[in-house]
Subunit: 139 residues, 4 copies
């Protein structure tokens, strides 16, 4: 069996595109990129971003790669099912909060980006901007 | 004092019957079988099933053997009691989500099966299919 | 970038070959097979094997896939370097003890097997026997 | 009171200089840069570097910033004092192994770099190369 994997260069393209969008929005965030095993591949914490969000960014990325959908969409889904929300939130390294998005290459989920530290809903848009960076690079 | 215990062969029969049903349903899941002490006895993660569900499958099995009923039934029970749901869900290795079912031999709970990774309600039926596998083998 | 991965069928072949050898040796062990991300793919605990070895078997497998060599060879290597031994042993999910061996397909480390519970040096031979099972299946 | 801090740009300069040296040496490593609080600021795992070294790289960086000296020098120091070695190694996030070096700006320790994954003594030289990157950039 063979599969596609996330290269270091792709991980940094995703990271840098997300960073650029965070700067446009004027927010200081932590950004994690993980591989398909949920292991950290690249990370950067912007100046002014609290240490508090470091592991949260990674947990969002792990959740997104594990679920295979954005954590914002998943949050909407589980919000109406209290046992699911409580049960999953209690699992280690799970964060059902906006800011995580799977990275897909050739239809395969190869990793995910997680963003934490925004103040008013910027985390998910910053994560999505990272994905656009990868697409742009591939063109 | 003597008791019935879950043998390795029984554990694999349960696992394989659940695997077969998951394949019929076209879902990729993780399947855990634990003994009466909640300790892993057999496990398999299907191709395409995320690492994300590995520990969740075991937590569902641990919950089912600890409670002595299916996690789906238990979830229905605690869903109406938010403090109980929140308090239990925060315990380590507890997962009050569909997909766990106790394994009973001669009226004694000897272990449980836990299934995670289905996308639309398949976890509990896959777990129940595992139980049928044991019954069929005993005949 | 693409890579080879460990299928469920390969994982079970490794597991079953190791189980057969443990039975020949008359020992009751726990056997874990993990993928290249260190995540559990297949597991079985033999009748008579203590729950105590459940997580140890997985830690040995994680160590073997992370190091890319058998844990017995690695133990020999670090035994003469006390800081390395102490430093690595304190890491989570690391077990620098005999019983772990990487699984290689086409020259790529795709996972590992970990065995725990032997009483007198059987863990490493049982793990190695698992690898032979995969080779035999490929022929 | 004011203090010098490690900026995101400085962190990336350190990271990139270390990456370049690892590539020269032909090793695949994980590289962590932490701030003066021991919190991750930047990270990258090279293609071919195992997940196994992800947290170890960060632990080396945390140790270096906490001790204020290279982890290689500190390892030499404690190697002759087994209780100190054992006691410190058992602390969470401590790694008394070569590969960690404090980052100093204007005589103030502002953070550290940690490198893990080398096979024969490359971790410390790669970490030191990261420091040179910062100096070069400042000129």
């Amino acid at each position: 069996m063979s599969t596609v994997t996330l290269s270091r260069h792709d991980a940094r393209r995703v990271l840098d595109a997300a960073l650029a969008h965070a700067q446009e929005l004027g927010v200081s965030v932590s950004i994690s990129v993980v591989d398909d095993g949920g292991h950290l591949k690249a990370f950067e914490r912007m100046d002014g971003a609290s240490f508090f969000n470091t592991s949260l960014a990674t947990s969002k990325a792990i959740t997104a790669v594990g679920i295979g959908m954005s954590t914002e969409d998943f949050m909407q889904f589980v919000a109406g099912i209290p046992p699911l929300l409580a049960g999953l939130s209690a699992q280690p390294n799970v964060a059902i909060l906006p800011g995580g998005a799977p990275i897909t290459v050739d239809g395969v989920v190869v990793g995910a980006i997680g963003v934490a530290g925004g103040k008013g809903g910027e985390d998910q848009p910053v994560a999505q901007a990272g994905l656009i960076g990868l697409t742009a690079a591939a063109v």
